[in-house]
């Protein structure tokens, strides 16, 4: 009989132990914090060991590490259910109490219900959420194409407006560092587009000079991105990576407990 050690260990630690922990926690509150920390230690160590130990039970296609990724996806699904319940509860309360903006809460709930219904219809009829056999979009796809995609693009395009207002308001040469930032930002913005050619467009005699200057500006912008920006980014990435590693050690060893809602003494 093949004993799938990895699968058994995961089920034991991620399913059996939490259930035991919940049961014990009802009797002994001190254990309420211990079990999640133990699970955190176990779950944190598996990917680290998997990085160095290529044994099948750990790193293979059906090993503990890839299975842990699958557990996370399953957990996210259950957590999503909690989130949806919360959305429905909050917005229903708003509607029932006729709070300010209750109409928008109703629109949200109607949208949630209709889109969910279309998705469930696609699953029930096996049409899916893409295109129907005749090439026409399923109702879910229709909602996605006519509502979701344009709305997403609209909100994303707000960035252009906010960027302009932030540039006007915040890019001030208040001190030396701010001035250097300003000059660098201006050079990069000018170098990334054919700005000089655009400005010289109504003046044909200036076209060759504008083109040459634009090439120079483009090269300068690329050098600014490549050298000072590249160096600064590398420094921040390395520093942040070390900070992340230190934080991860604290979480795995159970030293950091703030994310569990526990203080240091708990």
């Amino acid at each position: 009989m093949n004993f799938d050690f990895g699968r058994v260990a995961l089920v034991l630690v991620l399913a059996v132990v939490p259930i035991i922990g919940i049961a014990l926690g009802m009797r002994a509150p001190a254990l309420r914090s211990r079990i999640p920390i133990l699970i955190g230690i176990f779950a944190g160590l598996i990917p680290i060991f998997s990085l160095y130990i290529p044994k099948q039970f750990l790193s293979g296609p059906t090993g503990m590490s890839p299975r842990l990724d699958q557990w996370l996806i399953i957990l996210a699904g259950f957590a999503l259910l909690l989130g949806i319940v919360n959305v429905v509860q909050n917005n229903s309360r708003k509607i029932s109490r006729r709070e300010k903006g209750w109409f928008f809460a109703a629109v949200l709930l109607i949208g949630l219900l209709v889109t969910s219904a279309f998705g469930i219809w696609g699953w029930w009829t096996k049409m899916g959420i893409g295109f129907m056999p005749d090439g026409s979009p399923t109702p879910f796809k229709w909602v996605e194409d006519r509502f979701f995609q344009p709305l997403q693009s609209t909100i994303f395009s707000l960035l252009a407006f906010f960027m302009a207002s932030a540039a006007f308001r915040a890019f001030r040469a208040r001190n030396t560092e701010a001035t250097i930032l300003l000059i660098a930002a201006g050079l990069v913005m000018a170098g990334r587009v054919p700005l000089l050619e655009f400005l010289a467009a109504p003046f044909p005699p200036l076209h060759p000079s504008a083109s040459a200057a634009s090439q120079f500006l483009g090269g300068l912008a690329e050098r600014i991105m490549d050298i000072p920006n590249g160096a600064a980014q590398s420094g921040i990435i390395i520093g942040a990576a070390l900070g992340a590693a230190s934080m991860a050690i604290r979480v795995i060893l159970g030293i950091e407990r703030g994310y569990l809602g526990l203080g240091q003494g708990e």
Partner: protein, 294 residues
């Protein structure tokens, strides 16, 4: 003069928004046709793809959603066109959860229609979407069929001719990821660093500064930064393959080259705003809110 600058400083931001709207919309309605210059990072990506031989396989990952489609769609389409011209096989997949697959399907349908001789399963294949991007990438290093047992149509990989010689990501010559967010970085850290497959990234312009660190470290073969990078790639494609010019001339379809007109105007407007704002600040010396401190 001081009164004008004081008025300027107190200007409602909605006037700025309106000005920006006209600045961006006007070049779309009245195209200018400004030239596009190429940068080293884009040229390196193009030359690497040019060095591939007919029959080589590349991985084209749609790791973006509808929000960044104007930046990422043109680069994905340009890379696909180059591959089909060179008879390089393309494996398409999507790892972005919201809208990635739809964009992949649309782009594949659009570009493959331009090359009537292409055959699905022999020249290109669409593996569809898979959840858990980083976990999928780790799995690709061992066994592609384990991550994608079937293609988007449900056909097992073993029955797709071009996938028979592609057991894992080591058998692929390049990964091109058109990405938004962190998925592009995972291709570098999970695939290139651990397996060695070369990666070219096409990030959105806002993420591009971070990837210069990886480019300088040699962890990226090349990079297409935002819409400018896409426009540069389109220019390189047209220069190398003049027959491609017809796809970039149409007034109906959006291309990055056309988008650069709008981007040029808005950059000019923003630089003007910055200069005006600073002139107003210097003239009035108003301090306003607390400083932004790091």
């Amino acid at each position: 003069m001081k009164r004008i600058f004081t008025w300027l400083l107190k200007l409602d931001r909605r006037w700025i928004f309106l000005f920006v709207l006209f600045s961006v919309a006007t070049p779309i309605v009245f195209p200018i046709g400004l030239p596009v210059t190429t940068t080293d990072s884009t040229r390196r990506a193009f030359e690497y793809l040019e060095s591939l031989k007919p029959g080589d396989t590349i991985w084209l990952s749609f790791d973006y959603g509808p929000s960044s489609a104007p930046e990422n769609d043109p680069m994905a389409e340009a890379v696909m066109r180059q591959c089909f011209l060179k008879h390089v096989k393309v494996v398409v997949l999507a790892l972005y959860p919201l809208g990635g697959l739809g964009l992949a399907n649309t782009a594949v349908a659009k570009v493959t229609a331009e090359f009537p001789g292409l055959r699905y399963g022999e020249d290109y294949v669409n593996l569809g979407y898979k959840d858990g991007a980083a976990a999928v990438m780790r799995r690709l290093g061992e066994d592609i069929a384990g991550a994608f047992p079937t293609d988007v149509n449900g056909t097992p990989l073993s029955r797709i001719p071009m996938m028979r010689g592609v057991h894992d990501i080591r058998n692929v010559k390049l990964v091109f990821t058109a990405a938004t967010g962190v998925i592009g970085e995972w291709w570098i850290t999970q695939v290139h660093s651990q397996i060695g497959t070369p990666v070219v990234i096409g990030p959105t312009a806002v993420s591009a500064p971070k990837y210069y660190a990886y480019l300088n470290a040699g962890q990226l073969v090349g990079m297409l930064s935002g819409m400018k990078g896409a426009a540069e790639y389109e220019r390189l494609l047209r220069d190398t393959y003049p027959q491609m010019a017809r796809f970039y001339k149409s007034t109906r379809t959006f291309t990055a080259t056309k988008g650069m007109d709008g981007q040029t105007v808005i950059h000019t407007v923003m630089i003007a705003f910055i200069i005006l704002g600073n002139l107003a600040f210097l003239v009035t010396r108003e301090t306003g809110r607390p400083e932004a401190a790091a």
